[in-house]
Amino acid sequence: MKMLKLEQVKVYYGHVQVLKGLSLEVEKGELVSLLGANGAGKSTTLMTISGILHPTSGHIYYEGQDISQLDAKDIVHLGIVHCPEGRRIFGGLTVLENLRMGAVCRKDKSRFQIDLDEIYSLFPILRERRKQMSSTLSGGEQQMLAIGRALIAQPRLLMLDEPSLGLAPIIVQGIFKVIRQLHEKGITILLVEQNARQALTVADRCYVMETGNIVLNGSSAELGANPEIEKIYLGQAPEAGKL
């Protein structure tokens, strides 16, 4: 049984159809990346899985259970945690308060401090800034906070939406190092990225989306060697990599 399976999912945003019969799957322990240009529908896909949006037709199965019409909070309780695009941390709350919000969905609050220490060891800067108002953090720090917050929620499936967005290359490296670590720990990850080059370095498999549908999929090795990808998503010359 796949951990996550989308079958012919169609989603409307207002009157516009954003997903046009999307199908994909994620196995337990995999790191799958969802690639594509702006507007392809990648974020919408994650939003639909996490329950903010609902499909008008098609199904979403999580460990065999149909979660298509569940409310977001129930989906979080099942273990799917979505770290949204643009980080969306609670700017008016301190770093610690943000992390506490990640723990809201947990049934056992007793382990909170232990897990908090784990997050701090992953992102030491957060411990340093824990009493600070999170709107004062830098972009990279905010991304770390967003991921830390998602991790505190004890995800079994972690969904990351554009973690590299707007961050300097050095910081992006750091973030992806953490992503790799999480992958090694065995957390299943669904990663949406515009920065295909980076994504290919961590993902096992990739799907490429275009206007609401999957147009290509395969292992990172296959896609990395694919001249189509090279041209469309990585730019003609390798130096032009940053999208």
């Binding site: 909070k73 969306r88 008016g92 969905c105």
Partner: protein, 298 residues
């Protein structure tokens, strides 16, 4: 009376009124923060609480119990209001929510008119709760002091709630980013209901204190208080709880100043002044006195 005594008396008056505005504004701010809804029906919660209290006292219930019942009535009405009219409209554009709050106001006010007649009724506070304190030439109404003390206690509890409890922090989180809050597994229905419950509870208390101040109740009594609470909220920055408190006290002080220093010829225009202040604020400082003058781009 020396100038100092006069200042003290008016000062206490201003802070007492400011406290009531602050409590009301906090209720409005909590709901606006999460739902972007300006709940004009909030004013009618004052009316519901007061009428419940007066009616119960009228059949012999002692004041303390009648007051508790009144506050409970406000709280319940607020929760029902949320469940029945605002929840089905979640996600609707702001205008629809605003209009709905007007419809609810009209509904409640006219229902009260039908049930209780439009004429006002007197509100009596037991004498022991409203002593007049004498300090030489200075007369201070005990009610003012009580109002200030109660308000401060409530505000302290409220601050503890929103900074120390998970529910309170969740509320702040939800008012900053509702979608992110949902993604954290926060039960938004509970959070919103809590915001309404607290706001309505505060409105119930304000109802008792306000009616005691004015000495009477009538079906339309909530109209001006909610308006002033709204102005107070805007002064402090709409949606911000500390802003609401600041705005409430500011408005209280402003009102007493205006009362004292407004030339008599302009007195009939006092009602309009509240709105003029509001409009000026909305145009020049929509994010409150402390906020920027930048309007949301959208």
């Amino acid at each position: 009376m020396t100038p100092f005594e006069f200042l003290l008396q008016q000062g206490i008056n201003a802070i007492s009124i400011g406290s009531l505005y602050a409590l009301m504004a906090v209720g409005l701010a909590m709901v606006f923060g999460i739902l972007r809804l300006i709940n004009f029906a909030h004013g009618d919660l004052i009316m519901v609480g007061s009428y419940t209290t007066v009616l119960l006292m009228g059949v012999g219930v002692p004041f303390e119990w009648a007051a508790i019942a009144g506050i409970a009535a406000s709280t319940i009405t607020g929760l029902v209001m949320e469940r029945v009219t605002y929840r089905p409209l979640r996600g609707a554009p702001d205008v629809a929510m605003l209009l709905t709050s007007f419809a609810v106001t009209i509904f409640l006010e006219n229902l009260a008119i039908i049930l209780f007649s439009p004429t006002s009724r007197p509100f009596f506070l037991p004498g022991v709760l409203n002593p007049v304190l004498e300090f030489g030439h200075l007369y201070i109404s005990g009610l003012n002091i009580i109002a200030i003390i109660i308000s401060v206690i409530l505000l302290v509890f409220l601050t503890l709630f929103v900074t120390r409890t998970e529910a309170g922090i969740s509320m702040r989180a939800a008012s900053q980013d509702l979608v992110a809050a949902r993604l954290m597994g926060i039960n938004v229905n509970y959070v919103i209901a809590t915001a309404f419950a607290i706001g309505s509870f505060l409105a119930g208390i304000v109802g008792i204190l306000w009616s005691a101040r004015v000495g009477k109740i009538d079906p339309l009594m909530g109209f001006y208080p909610v308006l002033k609470a709204f102005v107070a909220s805007v002064i402090g920055g709409l949606g911000s709880i500390p802003g609401a408190v600041l705005g409430g006290y500011t408005l209280g002080i402003l009102e007493i100043l205006l009362q004292g220093f407004l030339p008599p010829v302009l007195t009939p225009f006092r009602d309009a002044f509240v709105f003029i202040i509001l409009i000026i604020l909305l145009i020049f400082r929509p994010n409150g006195i402390l906020g920027s003058s930048e309007r949301d781009k959208i």
